[in-house]
Symmetry: C2
Subunit: 345 residues, 2 copies
């Protein structure tokens, strides 16, 4: 490795790095309709539907902690995370491939548990496991999943279609998965300090644990949108946090946005937990991540239709890019959205 | 992890483990034509061609050693390994996705080098990079690549079509990549023992290094077969070694085989190096792996056609399964093929 010209990855950030690495890639096949830069790649299948392809790499110690994540849940979540990306394109997930790098500390039964979780998720969403690769790993568990899906060309929703005055909508509620993670981390620390027997008490916090350990992909929302003839102008799933995903949509659509703190959907258990942890609730909802809810924009003319949709909230609207990307707090003050945290809160 | 019933992975082996993990998987979509169990999975695209999907996970310390593998070569090889799997289905590679898990010791330039190699291979084979995922890694470099390809339904060649009396053919020569690896490992050990300056001397061994560091996928062989109207009955690419791949074909086709030591193609440099290392040359050719040559079977009626093909050798023939899987040594003795090494040699 030549260090004569060295740029630290931290200086670019993840997305800057990806931009840098992929800037020279040119698509050569007519069938490669959409490459790097969205939730999934789009590949044409001659006549008829298009194929969607998405992939995720999950590494132990970075994406999961086996101290408190059962392998069955990990398998379930690994599949759902990819399936969610296909829904975020307004597609139907169809197949996944699964590659595992495993160290000696795992037994066959451990991996069977992982596969049980994987199969459970695939059965729920009608997805076939069609291949993969299994190899040794010198260190932790490595999981790579690729998911293929289908969609009609005129129904695919990209990140770059948001227009001025569009409504910004989000499904479900936010911050719960992050609070579930905090809860598990706390119990791990308490457990580490105990010498005798210790049973963590999660009573009343089941929802938060489920958000973290067994997330759902929002097929129901995609179906409800289709059933009501609503085609979003832009869509993304919330894996890194609302702020980060909103900024993706705004950047790729070349627009600004205004979202309202008071409209961000937050569950009661999330709010209670944030208070117990003395954490800023809105920060958790904006930056927590791993909720796998859908964030999408619809034309203003859809206001009436979209406002009656179950488990969908309008949280703001799209503006001209010159107005920037802002959150309006309950006290009326404006705060610039940032991918991690936001100013002066 | 519950150890009440613990089977060691080593007890099953890689393929046994995969069999065990995937035995309950049932394909649900009509479009999932072929799942786990071949070089690539087959997914239908409505009318017209079928989509091929293959994936590989490469982990530092297991699949590569960055002490002597330049990142550019690693990127090149990572792509070729997947592209080779598509050719092994008699398909045309079209797209790849690339996921990377990277630790702090890598700079942006390092990863650009990796991508340069990746793009070089993709350009050579007409493949588009259409997506991926980049994340942190606590330990070594993790690389996951998925490759999509196309093929007409009646041209796809699986592993399970070999018939009694078919000829067994192999492209190029074998054992070279393994000898290249031995050479690099030796230079690494010498280097580690030196205190002063040391320049490894690879003169006259360039071919072996190229086999290890810059393997090629045999598009030319696929094209030559098609140009001569030869459709193999079974095919696989040689990643784990000739023995291992032959056993895959025989097992899935429910047949036996007889291959002849004297017909196994071996390059002069490979032979010289084996002597220098005091290694059994045939063992290297049978079990070395990483040659990425094509192993295929054709009907006996194709004998004349196939024997004139450039860089293709007939090494034996398919038998009834009751006759087993054997190598016939130069002295006429028979040896049962094993995935790793073979008896009494």
């Amino acid at each position: 490795m030549d260090n004569s010209e060295r740029t630290e990855i931290a200086d670019l950030g993840e997305f800057g790095l990806i931009d840098r690495l992929t800037q020279n890639i040119q698509l050569k096949n007519a069938g490669s309709r959409k490459g790097v830069g969205d939730d999934a790649a789009v590949v044409s299948c001659e006549n008829g539907l298009l194929t969607l392809v998405t992939t995720d790499l999950l590494l132990e110690g970075i994406h999961f902690d086996l101290t408190y994540v059962p392998l069955m849940h990990l398998g379930y979540k690994a599949a759902v995370v990819n399936i969610s990306d296909i829904y975020a394109m307004n597609g139907t997930p169809k197949q996944i491939t699964v590659s595992l790098g495993i160290s000696k500390r795992f037994s066959v039964e451990d991996l069977e548990n992982f596969y049980t979780g994987l199969e459970t998720a695939c059965n729920e969403y009608g997805v076939d496991i069609i291949g993969g690769d299994t190899s040794a790993s010198l260190t932790g568990l490595a999981i790579s999943i690729t998911c293929l899906g289908e969609a009609a060309e005129d129904k695919i929703v990209y990140r770059n279609g948001a227009k001025e005055a569009d409504l910004i909508c989000v499904s479900g509620d936010l911050g719960g998965a992050y609070m579930g993670l905090q809860l598990l981390e706390r119990e791990k620390r308490i457990f580490a300090g105990e010498t005798g027997s210790f049973t963590p008490d999660f009573t009343g916090r089941e929802y938060l644990l489920e958000r973290q350990l067994k997330p759902r992909a929002r097929r129901d929302v995609i179906e409800r949108l289709a059933g009501n003839d609503i085609l979003p102008t832009a869509m993304i799933d919330i894996s890194d946090g609302l702020s980060s995903e909103l900024l993706h949509i705004c950047k790729q659509s070349m627009v600004g946005c205004r979202v309202y703190e008071e409209h961000i959907p937050i569950d009661y258990q999330t709010a209670v937990m944030a208070e117990e942890f003395n954490m800023n609730l809105v920060t958790a909802a904006l930056n927590g991540g791993e909720d796998y809810e859908l964030l999408f924009t619809v034309p203003l003319s859809m206001h009436e239709k979209v406002s009656t949709l179950k488990e969908v909230k309008i949280i703001g609207y799209i503006t001209n890019s010159s107005l920037g990307t802002h959150l309006i707090a309950r006290d009326g003050t404006e705060h610039r959205l940032k991918a991690q945290g936001w100013n002066s809160l």
